[in-house]
Symmetry: C2
Subunit: 311 residues, 2 copies
């Protein structure tokens, strides 16, 4: 199954990155957006991505540290990098933005759903989309928190529906977790794995549904344990990070990871646990601690300060 015509639904942080990367790697990409307002908000994101891609490819000519796995082979020559810069321009020019289901769905090989993490919105989107899609089209969700089995019935093609979950800064962090539900056809699964490779991703295969996929299934308990040590005043941020780095050789410890993830996200994940409502529990102490940081505006790297200062 050859995937050339790709629809990305949603122009948020990840949606815009996935659309741009797919176009950069040669796909015909249409971006479906809810409204003209969404189109206006998405346009500067693509402008910004074009700049990042061009600057990164230029930097890769001379600076090995600038290398991004999703953009080029490690040994690309300056001439090859110039050719890739031309692809960036072509990708940017070739993007089609539309609010029309008909226009988006016609001729789509693959739809990548990147709309809000709101079940109602997702159900409404899939239900309307299904009316317009060719039978052959595969549909994937980039949802971080929901399982494909929850939506398969609304897509009109449960056997061609699965999850393809990207990481932020897709051109650099080029992993894609591929996860079907019990009714996903292996042929559709394999086609999505091949598509991930085609757009420069490293596919990470899950054999069954797993909330949190592979990465968050490990990252969340690890980060929660670090948060608990701090909230219980067992040790300070620097000591906990240093312990992890010295013992495992990791480049950064849990609190630098949390600063990248963002403390608001960490707080929201923590609040999913009902025990977080009780201030006497570890979960409650962690929530209260994160809330103090958030209330002070220390939400992580993007804010310039989290557990560490970045400005």
């Amino acid at each position: 199954m050859d995937i050339r015509n790709v629809v990305v639904a949603g122009g948020g942080v990840l949606g815009s990155q996935i659309a741009f990367q797919s176009a950069y790697k040669g796909c015909n990409v249409k971006v479906w957006l809810r409204s003209e307002g969404s189109i206006d908000r998405a346009k500067p994101k693509f402008e910004r991505l074009k700049g990042i891609y061009l600057n990164t490819l230029e930097a890769m000519k001379t600076n090995p540290a600038a290398y991004c796995r999703g953009l080029a082979p490690k040994d690309a020559t300056p001439e090859q990098l110039d050719a890739l810069k031309a692809q960036v321009e072509a990708a940017y020019e070739g993007l089609t933005l539309t609010t029309s289901y008909e226009e988006a769905a016609a001729d789509a090989d693959l739809v990548i759903e990147c709309i809000a993490e709101d079940p109602k919105q997702k159900v409404a989107f899939y239900t309307e989309l299904a009316k317009h899609l060719p039978e052959r089209t595969i549909v994937v969700t980039n949802s971080s928190t929901m399982l494909p089995s929850a939506f398969a019935q609304y897509t009109g093609r449960p056997e061609k529906y699965l999850a393809l979950h990207f990481a932020n800064e897709i051109w650099r962090n080029n992993t894609a977790e591929v996860m079907g539900h019990a009714g996903t056809d292996p042929a559709a699964y394999d086609a999505v794995v091949a598509f991930a490779e085609q757009i420069g991703m490293i596919p990470l295969k899950l054999h069954k549904e797993q909330p949190g996929y592979i990465l968050n299934s490990m990252l969340v308990p690890f980060l929660s344990a670090a948060e608990a040590l701090l909230a219980n005043e067992v040790a300070d941020v620097e000591t906990i990070d240093r312990t992890w780095q010295l013992a495992t050789g990791a480049p950064i410890g849990p609190f630098r990871i949390l600063d990248v993830v963002g403390l608001t996200t960490a707080y929201n994940i923590g609040m999913l646990d009902p025990r977080a409502a009780d201030p006497a529990t570890v979960q409650g102490k962690v929530a209260a601690m994160l809330k103090r940081y958030i209330d002070e505006g220390k939400t992580g790297v993007n804010a310039g300060e989290g557990f560490y200062k970045y400005r």
Copy 2:
């Protein structure tokens, strides 16, 4: 408080390493052992450590990858490394091995307890030791699994008793977690922190008692999450490790760490959870999976095979 006269109780893997490292860094070291048989078993360990220290220092003259943080400053010259090799010989010659409490205790500034992880044996040891120790002596435990508050009352000096927990291959993995109980005198705590630095360790300070200290408090839930993904057949060993490495930049993933830790240790830790007895639970599935590997002799790096092959 200047610590020069050190007693290490126990000649096992860690006891022998701690004794040798302390002697290498200039302390007068007596090793207390339970019996003449224990002395015979400890001697080849010190012989082996002498060889490792000498070979490592020699290799550090030419091979940056051989560098071990616990042995020398990063920029040591070949002449300085030769001088350190002489210290290794002196350390080896200077070690005193004894089965006598009196001989061990007389004039001790610090006793480092590294005997078996058996509460009864520890209580018996502390109770007898207390009869012979000078009042000033500080006592620490290297226990991985027990808390100092459980034994403080038997030492005859609860305020001068705390935990100093080393990592295996102390000359390379030179961290030492320092953990008091509620009644530990801050002066004794600070003296132990200073001692850790004196013998080339990086002290990692805990402000209160914490089962598992800092490292295992994070490592155990992280490794358990990885084990659960495998036992639930969500993904394979290589995919799970690769996901962790790609996402966090870590040099190795959870299953390579488990191979170093040893699957028997992982199994024993898992079995501490009562849910592991029920084969229907995740904990039970993890235990059954680890037992299959162990039964096949695949216990980790030391056996030549665990989740990966090493020969």
